[in-house]
């Protein structure tokens, strides 16, 4: 980078034909990566959240919930900011619609984390002891999926650099494959937990059981959304 950064004075602002620099719209790549990063950090907090739930340490659960909501807001702000900097007049190698859809799927990760944590805290839910180990493993595998999605999204600037082809595109394809495998794992784990819950459900209060199924479903959607990020990336690569 240049050693001496320019001095912006009012005079230079006036006396210049700086329109050449105005033809470059702000790159959406950095904001999309930041957004994904916020969504991943939000999902990661869910592990801590459920650990405290299992320990019935409700103060810490509440603190964790606050962090989740904050991160979800952070993601929301980034989403709005990016939307506003993507006017229809931009000419981009990836269609605007594809970027917005990618953003929406990323955002749903944070939304699911917020929903599930709100549900659990609001109803002071407990995870049946026999399921706890498997449930935590299930949560963390879903977070793994989000992490892999973030890793794929981190390659987005390299993809733009290489025009979405060649060695870099292959690398992203393999990342997406790994992401799919993790998501397969979460599906298998989800089925197992549901079976476990089914086997003990008659001994539990029916309303709690209904909501436990809901919690499992919402948590599993984190992995689903991560997988869909992979699908969106494949669409972007196929152009």
């Amino acid at each position: 980078m240049p050693a001496n950064r320019p001095v912006n004075s009012k005079v230079t602002e006036q006396v210049m034909g700086n329109y050449i620099s105005k033809i470059f719209g702000a790159s959406p790549v950095g904001p999309i990566q930041d957004h994904m990063d916020a969504c991943y950090r939000c999902s990661k907090e869910l592990i801590t959240f459920f650990e405290h739930v299992i320990n019935a340490n409700w103060d810490k659960v509440e603190a964790s919930r606050i962090r989740i909501v904050d991160l979800e807001h952070e993601a929301d702000d980034l989403k709005k900011q990016l939307r506003s900097q993507l006017p229809k007049s931009l000419f981009m190698p990836v269609p605007r619609q594809d970027l917005l859809e990618l953003l929406l799927v990323q955002d749903r990760i944070a939304n699911r984390v917020r929903d599930v944590s709100g549900l659990v805290l609001g109803r002071r839910m407990t995870i049946p002891p026999t399921m706890q180990q498997d449930f935590l493993a299930f949560v963390s595998r879903n977070v793994d999926a989000a992490k892999k999605a973030r890793k794929s999204i981190r390659e987005l600037d390299e993809l733009y650099e290489t025009g979405f082809r060649g060695a870099e595109a292959k690398l992203v394809e393999s990342l997406v494959q790994e992401l799919d495998q993790i998501e397969d794992d979460t599906d298998v784990m989800q089925a197992r937990i549901r079976t476990e819950l089914f086997s003990i459900e008659k001994d539990l209060p029916p309303v709690d059981v209904i909501f436990l199924y809901r919690v499992i479903e919402l948590t599993g959607e984190i992995g689903d959304m991560a997988e869909r990020i992979g699908r969106r990336l494949e669409v972007i690569l196929s152009h």
């Binding site: 210049m16 034909g17 700086n18």
Partner: protein, 417 residues
Amino acid sequence: MEHQLIYIVLAAVFGLYMAWGIGANDVANAMATSIGSGALTIRQALLVAAIFEFTGAVLAGGEVTSTIRRGIIDSSYVIGEPELLIYGMLAALLAAGTWLLLASRKGWPVSTTHSIVGAIVGFAVITLGIESVDWPQVGTIVASWVISPLMAGVIAFFIFNSIHWLILVRPDPLVRARRYAPLYIFVTVTLISLVTMFKGLNHVGLALSTTECYAVALAFGAVVALIGRWFVLRIPVDEKAERRFHYATVERVFGVLMVITACSMAFAHGSNDVANAIGPVAAVISIAQSGVVGQASPVSIWILLLGGAGIVIGLGTFGRHVIATVGSRITALTPTRGFSAELAAAFTIVFASGTGMPISTTHTLVGAILGVGVARGMTAIDLTVVGRIFVSWIVTIPAGAALSITFFYLLRWVLPG
């Protein structure tokens, strides 16, 4: 002819002002990409711009200057009254200068080329009659305004795609970047030297044979390529930057190439835009000195020197701030992209200079950037702004014409006839 000294002094002052304005304002668009990409510091850019704008103006600015001087107006219409042409050319200079000042204050994207051509055509139509304009020539000039951004765009598209296929999509982009960089330098330098020697050098009094031209261009290209190779091979791999962005070192290799294209761009800009300032000056001086219109002697070297000096002064006074500000905003144009766009633009402009076509450097560069965009090289281009820049060339022509007509009557009223 009386009062010839007044005319010559006025022409020189107006021309110098115009050259100063071009140096202060327009050079930034040519140089900013190199600073934005980090290839050059402000100080280095100023030095490069000063040297190459000047050499471009002096070595290759003759053809376009001739076009502005006597290619637009059919001189047989002013034989009886040479003063008319003097007033007209002075008015055209004042009009383009005022327009440049106004537009840069308001931040409008205007082209000095379009305004000076509009100004000359405007006063000729009003004061000498519609037949006095060499319409086929003006038609060719207008066509070149459409062709030059297109041509730059197409060339940029192919250059960027070549970088893409030779380097970026490969598993070992850095090795390949170091291998091909000298080749790109060789092609760039050889082509631009060739066009300059074939088309521009007779104004400096150097006449080389075709074989000599090829020999000199190839040798020059090879020498610069070898120097470039030395630098490219010594670029260290920045591990930290590589982790964040795997193509960081590849981009730095192209940073070296951008130094070459920055020189080319400054040279090209000097060769074409100097004419906007000194074309009318050359016309005024040749008429005032001889009293005869349309004398066929080539543009004298000292006028080219005057134009070159004016641009450098403009650079030194205001240009550095403008370059700094524009440069800090063009970070989107990374070296691989900047190289493709600048090389395409520089080649197109030098080619136009060689054929005597006064074109807009900015429009050509915008065309080249769009070409890279079509090759999926740019993350985002704002088409509204691009549209505004291209629309400006239509607005600039009548504006330049109206201003020059006003100044023409003003001058005829004020100046001794």
